[in-house]
């Protein structure tokens, strides 16, 4: 009965609003239950506040979306669509398919919240060529997730320096525990390790320069990253056979107590808890310092909303983006998403991992998106293949880096 009523109301409101104002077409790939619930809430709330706008949502399957976005942006652009920050949006921005939204960032009569204030730290990843191309609504931290009980049993305290980290690995290995688990079948997990080693060895600026293609992969500083990586790979501190495992499958050894750490994003906590780990035995720590004095930058992949340049209803689209960047909206949405709100005015759920992440990111020197979002897709795919090959055959490092250099010269010409 309630369903019928809701449908009736929906139909009624459809008739009502289309008579007055525009429809807002939104394309998303948020089909998983948590993102879907968060956005359903946001859509309803937006319509409550703006009864003159009708929202029309086209939901795509997550994998299919990556293909579909190329089609719908060129042929049948929606008003608003979701995508990712950094270089991932670059091809679309360059092809003129994304609307410049600098005006809602720069307080020119648009802002009814305080977008510039609460979101200024996230402006950089949204900027290409001095302009902003969308707004971020959620992100999450990366770091090291570990088994507290295994650390205590082996007398290890949370490492804050590289030497402590390597020593911890050695202790665990000697105790017959795989120090670091990883599943590299789908490649990107290796990039998380590489990024952190790089951010800690050479710093954020170097990471950005490398992913922008300004530095050859044969550079001694890149070799320095692999020197550090050698210290983990050569003694066998990573899970064996990782190339055959997906990232979720690599969580199993950690749940069973056969492995102690995982360099991962916060989304893995849900899977780890499903596997039976609890706040009492699962912990999180920041990736330890390698080169002393280099400011600690973190990986924080950001999900974003954009307006298509071919949008029919740009006014309402901008209203929606502003709505989505408000502190109260982000707070509510991220409670459902289980991630971190970008707006610094929002609060997070009382969850030890989110609180630790928020604390870490608020004090971060800068935020990298992730190797495959900062580097162009082609470079990223070759790079991650190379990282995976290196992690199994560390002695092929030179050959791999030369190959990556060849790719770099082609991709960035």
């Amino acid at each position: 009965m309630r369903k019928i009523l809701a449908t009736l109301i929906a139909i009624a409101s459809l008739g009502y609003s289309s008579a007055f104002a525009g429809t807002l077409v939104i394309n998303t790939d948020l089909t998983d239950s948590a993102p879907k619930a968060a956005f359903d809430w946001a859509f309803t709330k937006f319509q409550e506040e703006n009864p003159d706008v009708t929202i029309e949502v086209n939901n795509f399957d997550h994998e299919g979306y990556k293909q579909a976005i190329r089609n719908f942006l060129t042929t049948n652009p929606p008003d608003v669509f979701n995508w990712y920050a950094g270089n991932r949006m670059l091809p679309f921005v360059r092809a003129g398919l994304v609307e410049d939204v600098s005006d809602i960032w720069s307080d020119t009569g648009w802002v009814d919240g305080n977008l510039t204030e609460g979101m200024s730290h996230a402006k950089k990843p949204m900027t290409i060529g001095g302009k902003q191309w969308g707004i971020p609504y959620t992100y999450y931290q990366w770091g090291v997730y570990y088994r507290k009980d295994l650390f205590t049993a082996n007398g290890i305290s949370v490492p804050t320096t590289w030497d402590e980290f390597v020593a911890a690995c050695a202790t665990l290995k000697a105790a017959g525990i795989t120090p670091i688990t990883i599943g590299s079948k789908y490649l990107w997990t290796t990039a998380g390790v590489f990024d952190y080693l790089n951010l800690r060895t050479n710093g954020y600026e170097f990471h950005m320069a490398l992913t922008k293609g300004e530095i050859p992969y044969t550079d001694p500083r890149v070799h320095a990253v692999f020197d550090k990586w050698d210290e983990l790979v050569k003694p066998g501190y990573f899970l064996e056979n990782h190339a055959a495992l997906a990232w979720q499958e690599a969580i199993a050894p950690m749940v069973n107590g056969e492995a102690a750490m995982y360099v991962m994003g916060n989304f893995s906590v849900a899977v780890m808890k499903e596997g039976g780990l609890r706040d009492s035995n699962l912990g999180f720590f920041q990736f330890p310092e390698i080169t002393p004095g280099i400011p600690m930058a973190e990986e924080a992949p950001t999900d974003t909303m954009h307006i298509a340049s071919g949008a029919k209803n740009k006014i309402d689209a901008k209203r929606f983006l502003i709505f989505l960047s408000r502190a109260d909206v982000q707070e509510e949405m991220n409670k459902t998403l289980g991630q971190l709100p970008v707006n610094s005015g929002s609060k997070v759920n009382p969850d030890p991992f989110l609180e630790a992440g928020l604390d870490m990111l608020n004090n971060a020197y800068a935020m990298a998106q992730f190797y495959d979002r900062d580097a162009p897709a082609e470079m990223a795919s070759e790079g991650m293949k190379g990282f995976q090959e290196y992690m199994v055959n560390p002695d092929r490092r030179n050959k791999i880096l030369e190959r990556l250099e060849k790719v770099r010269q082609r991709v960035y010409k």
Binding site: P91, F92, R94, L97, E240, N241, L245, A252, A377
Partner: protein
């Protein structure tokens, strides 16, 4: 052409082909295609063996035949997923090797043998297919010739080689043709089981083409087309040979 599907296409002459010559993934893919071709051919003799083994009249043979035919009924995708589970270090084979003390081994993570692991999965339904082709062939054997051969003292292997096999020639021909085609379109198994990994070592031309031209990380339409052109040329040789053979045999028949 250099085209990413968004920006205007640029004409780049033969540079895609020149790049292809210097691309180690291309050679890996080509070599893997060759491995597929050679090892996939095993499906033909194995299928023949099974067909002869099953071509008996004992109670319940129909049920057994249908069980052997089963792999061909299952979708390739399902077979790929199931074999990937078998090969998984936490699946069936790895833990088994571990319990008998050989250490855990994941074939799909081993760049030297991953391709064979996939071929093995691919050959599984192919054997069933060849078996069916031969079973129908065996049903149509001319009994008079076999009787005549027996009278002349042929038995066992010589009977099989000189009398049965020549009669199965149409079935053999068909089995080889479908097997070659099957090995050339080995895309699905690769896509499901490894996505070309580890680090591109199980790529075949069809999958490499897809990866460069259409996957999330690619969109190099021109380069993908160049790979497609090479794959097409290889297939063309085979198809020409096939047509020539058909033409010849038809001429003989007339």
């Amino acid at each position: 052409m250099q085209w990413d599907g968004l920006s205007p296409a640029i004409y780049v002459g033969f540079s895609n082909y020149i790049e292809l010559l210097d691309d180690e993934y291309f050679y890996i893919s080509l070599a893997n295609n060759l491995k597929w071709l050679i090892f996939f051919m095993l499906a033909v003799p194995i299928g023949l063996g099974l067909a002869i083994f099953l071509n008996q009249t004992i109670f319940g043979i129909r049920l057994i035949k249908s069980l052997f035919f089963f792999p061909f009924v299952i979708s390739q995708v399902v077979i790929g997923i199931i074999f990937a589970w078998f090969y998984n270090p936490r699946g069936v084979i790895g833990p088994f090797l571990e319990t008998i003390g050989l250490g855990n081994y994941a074939i799909l993570a081993d760049e030297n043998f991953a391709t064979y692991g996939i071929i093995f999965a691919g050959i599984y339904p192919q054997i069933a297919y060849c078996m069916i082709l031969y079973l129908t062939g065996l049903n149509n054997l001319n009994m008079d010739q076999i009787e005549a051969g027996r009278m002349d003292g042929a038995k066992g292997l010589s009977l099989f080689k000189n009398i049965i096999l020549p009669q199965l020639k149409p079935a053999t021909f068909l089995a080889i043709v479908v097997t070659v085609i099957g090995s050339l379109r080995s895309f699905d198994m690769v896509a499901i089981m490894t996505q070309g990994g580890p680090w591109g070592s199980t790529n075949v031309l069809a999958y490499y083409m897809f990866e460069t031209a259409l996957s999330e990380y690619g969109y190099r339409m021109g380069y993908g087309s160049a790979i497609a052109a090479v794959l097409f040329t290889i297939m063309m040789f085979y198809i020409l040979f096939f047509i020539y053979r058909m033409y010849q045999s038809e001429k003989k028949g007339l």
